[in-house]
């Protein structure tokens, strides 16, 4: 069974936020709902004193998703290929998944009243296309989609 993962190399992210807008173009989420988000508060201590890094926050498609456990409606499922999908039509808006997620990667759409998260563009993946954010939009080429082993190999080779 093909396994899928989305891996983002934060050290190479330039903070341009193209991934955020590519996601909007594909998934059309309303103002305020971001399935992928570039965080700008990444100051940290570094070799020369202060260092700064962008951190891209997106659903980790966890091995054992806490959100899935928390959802009373069984609206969140993990597929065999690793993609964790939140089925909006089954969501009651109880927000337990939002509380359960350790990564702050789920948000409530204030308009529809249901939870939203990255479903790894499964509608594209199932048609043989790449997720919108991983479709070579990133100028740093730091968003990887594919099999976890294959991605590790790519990062190791530096491509």
């Amino acid at each position: 069974m093909q396994k899928y993962a989305l891996i983002i190399d934060n050290e190479r992210c330039w903070g341009c936020k193209t991934c955020e807008v590519a996601c909007k173009q594909e998934n059309g989420k309303p103002n305020g709902v971001k399935l992928i988000r570039v965080k700008e508060d990444g100051f940290r201590a570094g070799g020369n004193g202060l260092d700064f890094v962008f951190e891209v926050n997106v659903c980790r498609h966890c091995e054992e998703p806490a959100c899935m456990e928390a959802c009373p409606e069984e609206a969140i499922v993990k597929r065999e290929d690793g993609i964790v999908i939140l089925h909006e039509e089954r969501c009651s808006g109880c927000q337990l998944c939002i509380d359960a997620c350790p990564y702050d990667a789920i948000s409530l759409d204030p308009q529809s009243g249901v939870a939203q998260k990255c479903n790894l563009c499964y509608q594209r993946v199932d048609s043989g296309l790449l997720p919108a954010c991983a479709d070579n939009v990133c100028l740093a080429h730091c968003i990887y989609f594919g099999g976890p082993e294959e991605i590790r190999e790519k990062i190791r080779k530096g491509i």
């Binding site: 341009c16 909007k24 070579n136 939009v137």
Partner: protein, 713 residues
């Protein structure tokens, strides 16, 4: 070449049921990326990068993707309008294109007859690739006055590089420089003229050493091997300090210096006036760091300097550029593979020829506003904005009666915005061509609906120096919008220039391409054309300068009465030049850091882009904020001797505590008043446009550093 993963276009079409896909060339900024535009039911519905494009290798940016939201924006102006109330009243009526262009042409001919063609000032902002047609129209009309951002953006790069080495040397990322010095530039966000961030990023991943010169800790600075955190506005001193090291440690390219430079001895004398002890005091950068950076840059081959607009919007504009050119030159990196290359354009009619500069009569050129004052600018057909405002307000040296701004919002982008407002209020007649009724357009008499890049055929990047041209293919039509090229082609016929123009602007595209023996219809079928790539052309032909050499000592600047060697001038407002003022305004304000999604004043009404950045943000060091009683997220007042504006405080520890960093070009399209809050957060309310605040040769207004105070609202 790296191999990157991307979706198959054919599959994309099948899955989403798109009707067609058009390869085109984006112009949401000056990056100029190759894109695919997917079309369904006659509408553009998706933008993706073109993996085969040599500029962007398939990557895009937030602006490019959001082009569709711009094109179909509900507030977009889609037909010509005439103002029916007082200026700024927001009262407009729809008129036809014929009525609009007939009215404009009557006014042009009247003013030309009564006050001379020079009383009509044409203008553009950063330029939506309409530079060539605007200059062509102005020159054929006989006005020497085209007001652009050219006095402090890109124009200085062109002017200083031409007088020094014949053309603008572009970093050869394709051949991966081994050392890149990024000087006051955040190209991964801004994709500046002739560049896109992607090839830089790839070169860095390929192992290039990185030196960053920036007062702020950008991500580029954070990744740098050496970060030179200079005092804002001290760039020339820093560059001269590095040159001092390179000259005295004999790290320069001797062969190049012996055979190809002009003015070595006086140049050495000049750099010896900048020992590191002195430079450290001026720049706040330690001697050791300057020395290490100079050594790294001079001894790593090939090396390149990535520069941009920040060093140009200063009183040292021309000398900043010239000092960096000296660094490129004496280290032997000019026209070197993997260094900075004087790329040749394809053999077309270039933007200068197309601009018909030779058709402007000499006696008219002599009337160029500020031509005597800013002689480097004047020789490159560039003018300083204050010269125009003065001519309107004081009618000196002659009255300016008409402004015709095409893709320009000077009320937001030029220094001393209140003076700009006065001039726009007073001017007899003003026409604006733009996408929206911007704050500037609200003061116009007639506003024309301009086409976006999705709505035009054009030869993309033909004004650039990277050596490529790429076809921009029309995909959609929105309302009655017309490209600025088609509009001026039409207007030209109505003012008697018809013989120099064409039935439709496709004729203009054919004219540009003619020397290559192809037409637009041929070019439209191509992906791109690249000029011949040759390195070190100077070894055979010399440099295209008066001496044929790389002019460290500029014979042209000397002829025009300026210091032929670069020197450092203290910023007009600073802790050292105005210590008394510094007591009252105790912070150095830097302005205009680049934001993803916006291009100067553009895109604040585009939902996907505004969502990236809702409010104008002023960065303040947490310690400074504590001292001033400011909390994160507070609306604060930033005040200079010229005025005050409000922005929201964000804590930013990555800069000196004495520095405040504010954003530029903010207006609020969502505000109902016709001015859309143009003076609330507009940083140019604070900037100074006086002539002694400008580069003496280039007329660049020093808007990047000034003194301010900051307090809670």
């Amino acid at each position: 070449m790296h191999k990157f993963s991307y979706s198959n276009v054919k599959r994309e079409m099948e899955v989403y049921g798109y009707d067609s896909v058009v390869k085109s060339h984006c112009r949401m900024c000056h990056g100029g990326c190759g894109v695919y535009v997917y079309v369904k039911d006659g509408k553009a519905v998706k933008i993706a990068g073109d993996p085969d494009c040599p500029i962007n290798h398939g990557t895009v940016c937030s602006k490019g993707i959001a082009s569709i939201q711009l094109a179909y924006h509900p507030d977009r102006l889609t037909y010509p309008v005439r103002r029916v109330g007082a200026k700024g009243s927001g009262k407009w009526e729809r008129i036809s294109w014929d009525e609009a262009l007939d009215t404009i042409s009557e006014k042009i001919l009247d003013y030309k007859k009564s006050f001379g063609a020079e009383s009509i000032v044409m203008g553009y902002g950063t330029g939506r690739e309409n530079e060539g047609v605007i200059y062509r129209f102005a020159n054929l009309l006989g006005t020497p006055n085209v007001l652009t951002a050219g006095h402090f953006c890109y124009g200085p790069r062109i002017a200083t590089t031409i007088i020094t080495c014949g053309s603008n040397p572009i970093v050869d990322y394709e051949n991966h420089p081994k050392c890149i010095m990024v000087w006051g530039n955040n190209l991964v966000i801004s994709n500046p003229d002739c560049y896109k961030g992607e090839p830089f990023s790839v070169s860095l991943d390929a192992g290039a050493k990185l030196i960053a010169v920036d007062p702020r800790l950008t991500r580029i600075a954070a990744r740098a091997d050496i970060w030179l955190q200079l005092r804002p506005g001290s760039d020339t001193a820093l560059a001269l300090g590095m040159l001092n090291v390179i000259v005295n440690e004999k790290l320069y390219d001797r062969q190049f210096v012996e055979n190809h430079v002009h003015g070595w001895e006086p140049f050495v004398e000049r750099v010896n006036e900048y020992p590191l002890e002195k430079v450290e005091k001026i720049t706040w950068v330690s001697k050791e760091k300057i020395r290490n950076a100079a050594r790294l840059f001079a001894t790593t081959k090939p090396a390149a300097i990535q520069w941009g607009v920040a060093i140009e919007q200063q009183i040292n504009c021309a000398d900043n550029n010239r000092a960096l050119l000296a660094l490129m030159g004496i280290t032997g990196n000019i026209d070197a593979k993997g260094g900075q290359v004087l790329f040749s354009a394809p053999k077309i009619r270039n933007v200068s020829q197309f601009g018909a500069h030779k058709m402007l009569p000499r006696e008219q050129a002599a009337k160029r506003l500020g031509g005597d004052r800013f002689r480097l600018a004047g020789n490159f057909a560039i003018i300083n904005p204050k010269c125009v405002w003065d001519a309107i307000l004081e009618e000196k040296p002659y009255p300016v009666k008409m402004l015709f701004f095409i893709s320009s919002n000077p009320l937001m982008t030029r220094a001393n915005a209140r003076a700009v407002y006065q001039a726009l209020q007073k001017v007899d007649f003003m026409v604006v061509s733009d996408f929206f009724l911007t704050p500037t357009a609200q003061l116009a008499d007639i506003v024309l609906p301009a086409a976006t890049w999705l709505e035009m055929d054009y030869i993309g990047d033909f004004w650039k120096r990277h050596g490529y041209i790429l076809p921009r293919r029309k995909v959609i039509q929105v309302g009655e919008c017309r490209s600025d090229h088609e509009m001026l082609n039409d207007l030209a016929h109505r003012v008697g220039q018809g013989q120099y123009w064409w039935d439709t602007f496709e004729g203009g595209l054919d004219y540009i391409l003619e020397p290559m023996g192809i037409t637009w219809k041929d070019f439209k079928k191509m992906d791109y054309i690249r000029g011949e790539v040759k390195y070190q052309k100077y070894k055979e032909k010399g440099f295209s300068t008066p001496t044929g050499k790389f002019e460290l000592y500029s014979t042209l600047l000397e002829k025009w009465g300026y210091d032929p060697l670069p020197c450092f001038r203290e910023p007009p407002e600073s802790p050292y030049s105005t210590p008394e003022l510094y007591k009252e305004y105790p912070y150095i304000l830097i302005t205009g850091r680049r934001l993803p999604g916006f291009f100067h004043t553009e895109n604040r009404q585009v939902p996907w882009l505004r969502e990236l950045h809702r409010d104008p943000v002023v960065e303040i060091h947490p310690e400074t904020a504590k001292r001033e009683g400011i909390e994160e997220g507070d609306w604060v007042v930033i005040e200079s001797p010229r005025g005050k504006v409000r922005q929201r405080a964000k804590f930013f520890p990555g800069m000196d505590q004495r520095i405040i960093s504010a954003e530029h070009a903010w207006w609020f399209p969502e505000k109902k008043d016709p001015g859309h809050g143009w003076d609330e957060s507009n940083i140019n309310i604070l900037t100074n446009n006086s002539y002694d605040n400008c580069d003496p040769a280039m007329g660049a207004t020093h808007v990047r550093t000034l003194l301010c105070k900051i307090y809670r609202e």
